[in-house]
């Protein structure tokens, strides 16, 4: 076999423009995912199970529940947008903890990537974009399911998917940054220790007023609470300027996460 002919390369060796570089990693992830086509099935099925079990099952026991506007809603209508927010969080965290940790510590994917024109921050962005694309698929299916089950009451629900993306962005970036601090697989139990109470207590299943004031303050500080309020307000058509505050919380969290994750990957791999 003859060696590859030299000379034709020079044309190619341009550095990809910055936004394109993160996309190259997204392409890589898409190719890898194609070998594991059945993995998204669980991500798609999970929220459907929630909608059916909690919305319909528990909803039958609970009956109606008073919304933020003191209007009484069917329980499924009340809880579905909160489950959408929680599933956006779960999907983002899963993608950016387990998957990223495997690539970081075991597959050494990023070591190879950083020997190319891609930079540490491109890796962070690429992984977060991957998480968002996967999250967008799940959220779309979820919103369609909500509509099919008659849990959508307002045209504002069209914004439910973009809001889920924002929630996904915030958690994906934070999870990515957290993963760079992981010392081993057992540390992922700490992630669950944070996620589970947030899922249960962030007014997912009942209103904030249920809690004593001090616990309300704690809940109001957690990110999922802001996601839940955002999704529920949108789904119920209770859109007002207050939502900007909730959205801003998630946006700042996401941007801070990207910056920290990029810096940490640089420290971990480029020293």
């Amino acid at each position: 076999m003859s060696a590859p002919a030299p000379g034709i390369g020079l044309r190619w060796r341009v550095v990809p423009p910055a936004p394109g570089r993160a996309r190259r990693l997204v392409d890589r992830n898409a190719r890898a995912a194609a070998h594991y086509w059945w993995v998204p099935l669980s991500g798609l099925a999970e929220p459907v199970f929630y909608l059916l079990s909690i919305g319909i099952g528990i909803g039958k026991l609970v009956g109606g529940i008073e919304g933020p506007d003191h209007h009484v809603y069917r329980y499924a209508v009340y809880v579905a947008p909160a489950l959408l927010a929680a599933s956006a969080m779960n999907g983002a965290i899963y993608e950016c903890t387990f998957n990223v940790y495997f690539k970081l510590e075991y597959a050494h994917v990023y070591d190879a990537v950083l020997a190319t024109p891609l930079r540490a921050v491109d890796v962070a962005r690429g992984e977060i974009i991957t998480a968002l694309l996967r999250g967008a698929t799940y959220s779309t299916v979820f919103v369609v399911m909500m509509a099919a089950l008659g849990d959508v009451t307002s045209g504002w629900a069209a914004l439910a998917m973009p809001a889920a993306l924002l929630i996904g962005f915030a958690f994906a970036a934070a999870a990515m940054a957290a993963t760079t601090y992981m010392r081993g697989w057992t540390d992922f139990d700490l992630v669950n220790l944070v996620m589970l109470p947030m899922f249960l207590f962030s007014t997912t299943f009942y209103p904030l007023a249920t809690y004593p004031r001090w616990l309300q303050i704690v809940v109001e500080c957690t990110p999922l609470y802001h996601g839940v309020v955002l999704e529920r307000s949108i789904a119920l058509g209770l859109v007002g300027p207050a939502l900007i505050g909730h959205a801003a919380y998630l946006l700042v969290m996401g941007l801070a996460g990207v910056a920290l994750a990029g810096r940490r990957i640089r420290v971990l791999l480029l020293s």
Binding site: M1, S2, A3, P4, A5, P6, G7, I8, G9, L10, W12, R13, V14, V15, P16, G20, R21, R24, L25, D27, R28, R31, A32, H35, Y36, A107, H108, V109, D111, A112, V113, L114, A115, T116, P117, L118, R119, L269, L270, S271
Partner: protein
Amino acid sequence: MISCVSPRTSGELTVLGLDPDRDGPRIRARLGVVPQEDNLDPELTVRENLYVYGRYFDIPKMALRERIEQLLGFAQLTERGGDRVEPLSGGMKRRLTIARSLVNEPDLLLLDEPTTGLDPQARHALWDRLYRLKAQGVTLVLTTHYMDEAEQLCDRLVVMDRGRIVAGGSPRQLIERHSTREVVELRFTPGETERMAEKVSDLADRVEILPDRLLLYTADGDAVVEALGRRRLEPLSVLARRSTLEDVFLQLTGRQLVD
């Protein structure tokens, strides 16, 4: 530091005329890197490994497809193109890693102990590939513990000891400067070695006493062997050979183990 993945500690450094601190991505676009441990992408097939890597360099898809077939041929992996990376043998993974490092037609190829852990067939196959690249004008920078590898591949080499350069030059220059042309290795029955060393010390430029044998450094090995016969010294074994880089390396860095 050369591949712009570690910050430089001190001093001046330019790679391909560029500053690694400022132009990292531009420099890396023209480099090929073969790390000590293969870091192929285990979630992708052989062909996808090359494709995805090529796309990191923004190589257009059409040109890349053509290039990949060339590289698979070069690495003798055409039949394994659709397989995952994990079941490949060590030699195959190494060849794929080298093929991957060539995807962007690098001007400078960095190889970190490229043949460590490979069987002799795989080593020779790799050397052959690297030699062809050199012939095409690609600059190879490689680190190795194998002196025969350095002798085969290097035009210029430097010997490093504890992070410092202790000698530099072509393999031939280094041998001329730091060793004799030939070496005679003598084995005696254990316990006699030191006594024998005194009897032969005048026959060579330098005699090195090892626990199990004597090394006689000389310009003419055959003459030493003849002289031994005349003195009726009868070692258990006699081996006259040419000096190698290994002799130079041990001479320069000592025989103690460095951990």
